[in-house]
C-alpha cells in the first residue's frame, strides 16, 4: 500500500530509474571510495567501530529531527562517514528536514523485511559525500521494526565502515523510541527549558540506564548529553524561563549544547537545508559548537546572554 503510493510519487517526479535503485545513492554507495575523507581513517584504525548516537527526548516537538539532521551534517562536514536513520515509523520527516524527500524510494522497513538491500535504501546527501540517509517507512504497522532487524541494519552499516550512525528517535517511549536507543553508545537528549520536556527527559534518562543493550550486558553505560533547544536568554533573565543551570541541576547531566530560539530554524526546515549549514544564524553556529563538543572539543557556550537593551527598553522594560 505504502509502496504503491511511493511509486506514484516517484513516477510523477520522473526520478525513478528502471531497476528501482535510488537516484544517486544506490549504485555507488558505501565504501571503496578512495576519495572519501574517511577512507584513510578506516584504513589506519581498522578496528574502530561505528559509534551509535541516539537523538531522543520523550516529548514531541522539542527538536529531535532538527537536531539529528544538524548533528549528522556537522559530523559529515568533518569528513566522518555518517548514516542518519529515521526511526519514526509512520511519520517520516527527517527526509524533509534534510531536503531529500523526493529521492526516497526504499525505506528502513523495506531493508528490515528484505525487500531491498541496504545500499539501495541509503540516500546519499547531495551536499556531503559522506552522509547517507535512511528514511522511515510510512507504514501504519507498529510492529514493522524488530530488534533483530534493527541490529542487522546497524551491523551492516558498521561493516560498511561508517564512523557514526545517528538514530533519530520518535517521540514517546514506545517501540520505535525503545529500538532507537537500544543499541546506542551515546545519547543526545534534546530538552526545552519547560516543565513537561524536562520531566520527560528524566524518564528517558532512566530508560537509557536500564533498557539499552549496554545496560542489559552490564557494559559501560550509554554516554548521556543534554542538548538544550529553544533557549531564550532574555526570558531566562526575566525569570520566565528556566536557565541552563536549572535544567542541569534537575537532570544532573552535562549540557553538550544550547541552541537559542531562532528564526533560522524554521527558515532552514522550510528550505530543507539543515540549520547547521546556515552560518549566519545563531542556531546554526550553536549546533556547530555542539558537534565539536560531542567530538571532545572544548568550546565556551555562545548565545546564552540576552542582547543588550536600548535606552527605551531600559526605561520602560521590554
Amino acid at each position: 500500500m505504502n509502496h504503491e503510493a511511493e511509486n506514484d510519487d516517484r513516477n510523477a517526479e520522473g526520478e525513478l530509474s528502471g531497476d528501482g535503485t535510488q537516484e544517486s545513492g544506490a549504485p555507488q554507495p558505501v565504501p571503496s571510495d578512495s576519495r572519501s575523507p574517511t577512507a584513510g581513517i578506516a584504513a589506519t584504525g581498522a578496528e574502530k567501530l561505528a559509534e551509535i548516537i541516539v537523538v531522543t527526548s520523550g516529548k514531541g516537538g522539542v527538536g529531535k529531527t532538527t537536531s539529528s539532521a544538524s548533528i549528522a551534517v556537522g559530523l559529515a562536514r568533518r569528513g566522518k562517514k555518517v548514516a542518519v536513520i529515521d526511526f519514526d515509523v509512520g511519520l517520516r520527516n527527517l527526509d524533509l528536514i534534510l531536503g531529500c524527500e523526493r529521492r526516497v524510494v526504499y525505506d528502513f522497513v523495506n531493508v528490515i523485511h528484505g525487500e531491498c538491500t541496504l545500499k539501495q535504501a541509503l540516500i546519499k546527501d547531495k551536499r556531503h559525500d559522506t552522509l547517507f540517509v535512511l528514511a522511515a517507512s510510512q507504514t501504519r504497522d507498529k510492529d514493522a521494526l524488530t530488534k533483530e532487524g534493527v541490529e542487522r541494519v546497524l551491523t551492516e552499516l558498521r561493516d560498511e565502515g561508517f564512523d557514526y550512525i545517528v538514530c533519530d528517535s520518535p517521540a514517546g517511549i514506545e517501540k520505535g523510541a525503545y529500538l532507537a536507543m537500544y543499541f546506542a553508545d551515546c545519547a543526545v537528549v534534546v530538552v526545552n527549558p519547560e516543565v513537561s520536556s524536562v520531566r520527560d527527559s528524566d524518564r528517558i534518562l532512566g530508560l537509557l540506564a536500564s533498557k539499552t543493550r549496554r545496560a542489559e550486558l552490564g557494559a559501560a553505560p550509554v554516554a548521556q548529553h543534554l542538548l538544550l533547544t529553544r533557549y531564550n536568554p532574555a526570558r531566562v533573565i526575566n525569570g520566565d524561563m528556566m536557565s541552563i543551570d536549572d535544567v542541569k541541576d534537575i537532570l544532573g547531566i552535562e549540557v553538550v549544547g544550547v541552541i537559542p530560539e531562532s528564526e533560522g530554524v524554521l527558515a532552514a526546515s522550510n528550505a530543507g537545508v539543515p540549520v547547521i549549514l546556515d552560518d549566519e544564524s545563531n542556531a546554526g553556529q550553536a549546533y556547530e559548537d555542539a558537534v565539536a563538543r560531542l567530538l571532545g572539543e572544548q568550546r565556551t557556550m555562545r548565545f546564552i546572554d540576552a542582547p543588550k537593551k536600548g535606552l527605551f527598553s531600559r526605561l520602560f522594560g521590554g
Binding site: 527549558p193 528524566d202 536500564s210 531566562v236 525569570g239 520566565d240 528556566m242 541541576d249 534537575i250
Partner: protein
C-alpha cells in the same frame, strides 16, 4: 531595571516555580524507578481500606519500597487528619 519593573516583581518568577515543582516530581519519580508495577495498585487498595474507617485524603498514603541489597523494605506512611484522636502517626511494615 526599568522603572515599571516593580509591577512585575510582585509576581514570583515563574521559572523558579517550575524548577521547584520539577525538583520534587523528578525526585519522586526517580525513587519509584524500577519499582514493581503493582505499587500504584497496592497504594490505591490500601487507601480504600483506610477510607472505610477514616476519611483520609487521596494523597494520604505514601508507599515506598527500598532495596537494602539482601532484602527490601516496604514502607507505608499514612497521614491521618489532625482532629481524629484515635489514630495518629505512621504504619510501618517490614518484610
Amino acid at each position: 531595571m526599568g522603572i515599571f519593573d516593580f509591577l512585575r516583581s510582585r509576581h514570583k518568577a515563574s521559572a523558579s516555580i517550575a524548577k521547584e515543582r520539577l525538583r520534587i516530581i523528578v525526585a519522586q519519580e526517580r525513587s519509584q524507578r524500577g519499582a514493581p508495577d503493582y505499587l500504584p495498585l497496592l497504594r490505591r487498595e490500601i487507601l480504600e481500606v483506610i477510607r472505610k474507617y477514616v476519611n483520609v485524603d487521596m494523597e494520604a498514603v505514601d508507599v515506598h519500597l527500598e532495596n537494602d541489597g539482601t532484602h527490601s523494605v516496604l514502607e507505608l506512611s499514612v497521614a491521618l487528619p489532625g482532629q481524629s484522636a484515635e489514630l495518629t502517626g505512621g504504619l510501618r511494615a517490614e518484610g
